[in-house]
């Protein structure tokens, strides 16, 4: 639904920078939570890995408002610093998403929708995965779909991002009854049921951080 609150018409370079900074804060705050989620179905390192990765992202983030360059820098740092499966998957997400955005200093709502689509296509391909397998995609795909649905109904950027964050949160929670079909958790078979997927959780946190950063910037 169209949001009554007046939001920005475009997402600017400084907003993207704020998104990245917010993500780093969120991963610092949720480090223990994510590793705890990873403990029963993985190797209890997802929170530490994401926190270490985003700390390095902040150190290496270039100057300027070129959004493609900012997101590519995020990708390359995560690839080098996160390790495990999350490093290449989040690296691919930001790398594929950044490609059409090189040289752009502000994004239209359509650009943002495209970013979600390209990023998700990259993760699906790299992980040979799709929704329903108890992965990051269970948060990301509903987020992208909600962003597009809200946009189609005339909602502006901020409303669409809020809808995306809500959908990501629901998608994250929906991983609890799923049986994992990818990654180390898949070896647990039925024993993976009943645990919230740490990758879907970190993906929700990133989408929520984008919504929060844009909202804060438009206040």
């Amino acid at each position: 639904m169209a949001d009554a609150l007046a939001g920005p018409k475009t997402v600017t370079g400084p907003m993207i920078r704020a998104w990245i900074e917010t993500s780093a804060e969120v991963f610092a705050a949720n480090r223990g939570h994510l590793s705890d989620l990873d403990s029963p179905i993985g190797d209890a390192d997802h929170g530490n890995n994401m926190n270490r990765g985003f700390n390095a992202v902040l150190e290496k983030l270039p100057e300027g408002d070129d959004i493609g360059a900012l997101l590519k820098s995020v990708a390359m740092t995560l690839i080098a610093k996160v390790g495990g499966a999350a490093g290449p998957l989040y690296g691919t997400l930001f790398l594929e998403g950044s490609k059409p955005l090189m040289g752009k200093t502000e994004l239209s709502q359509a650009d943002l929708a495209q970013f979600f689509e390209d990023a998700i296509a990259g993760v699906k391909k790299r992980g040979r995965s799709d929704v329903g397998m108890k992965t990051m995609l269970d948060a990301l795909v509903p987020a992208s779909e909600a962003f597009q649905a809200e946009t189609a109904q005339g909602g502006e950027i901020l409303a669409a991002l809020r809808a995306a964050a809500n959908a990501a949160e629901s998608g994250m929670k929906a991983t609890i009854p799923m049986q994992a079909q990818r990654g180390r958790a898949s070896y647990l078979g039925e024993r993976s049921i009943g645990h919230q997927d740490p990758g879907a959780t970190s993906s929700y946190l990133i989408v929520q951080a984008l919504s929060d950063a844009v909202e804060k910037a438009s206040e």
Partner: protein, 355 residues
Amino acid sequence: MKKLINNAEDVTLEQLKGFGLAYDSIDVHLDPNFVCVAGGVKDRVALVSGGGSGHEPLHGGYVGMGMLDAACPGQVFTSPTPDQMVAACKAVNGGKGVLQIVKNYTGDVLNFQMAADILRDEGIEVRNVIIDDDVALKDSLYTAGRRGLGTTVVAEKVCGAAALEGYDLDQLAALCKKVNTFGKSMGMALTSCTTPQNGTPSFELAEDEMEIGIGIHGEPGTTRSKIKSADEVTEILANRILEDEAYTRNLSEWDAEKGDWVDVEVKDIVFQSGDEVIAIVNGMGGTPLSELYTVYAKLAEVAGRHGVKILRNLVGNYITSLEMAGVSITLVKTDDEILRLYDAPVKTPALRWGA
């Protein structure tokens, strides 16, 4: 946690420093971390592997003449990252391309694929072969597929010899894939293991229990039961390997013509009476050699009963899980090519003969 370490964060770094000092023939590079043959590679395909630390001697112990040219160690039980792999591959690229041997763990596979993409963008030809030989897992559709175990050691040995013989990159990749489809493994654990960074055991196993089908990071196996005798355990593992049905799955590989990663259907052999094999009886790090010989004796008997003849063997610690007690068995069917290359000289910290 009771370990001979200084600080948990420093174990990988300190181990690499010691490894470099111990072997003159190997160069150790830090940040990004990799080890490679001193003097580099000229005018032939280079062979690179890597994976989490904690599985020593895999992979660094297999760097040297006639085997790997470089290895990338990750943190304990954590995949290395593409920057390590890119640096290692560049350091040993001899102008004829690089073959990456990758054990089938999601992190390893994805990081090596990203590294291959980056290297290709920089003009270095790369092939990437996945080893997935753990018969404990029946199914690949609903899991990440069979894991990489002891066949990795044979693949690294055989491909290293082939690279020295002058196999080109496509020939070497084809050989590596053949070894993978010819090799089957399965492991079991008597005890768990503790990574320095976590400080508590990866899983719990009671004093009178064992886990059959364990993975090398303590991933769960197929069955947990009361402990059985060495003969009974060996029967279980050897029979599962020798009677494993033709396993078919899709593996991701680079299609140079399409310029993209594609899924290729791969089918394993089924062991037949009359087959000749290389056998590995592998300790997990905490098993006395005396117990491994007991397992080997039974393995030879079970193989013989299936009409399978062991031509070569390795008994000892070749792909470990820190201090875990247990054993894994690997059988790799040989043919003239594999046996000739396996017998060729090798000189690495962990494997050496004929040189």
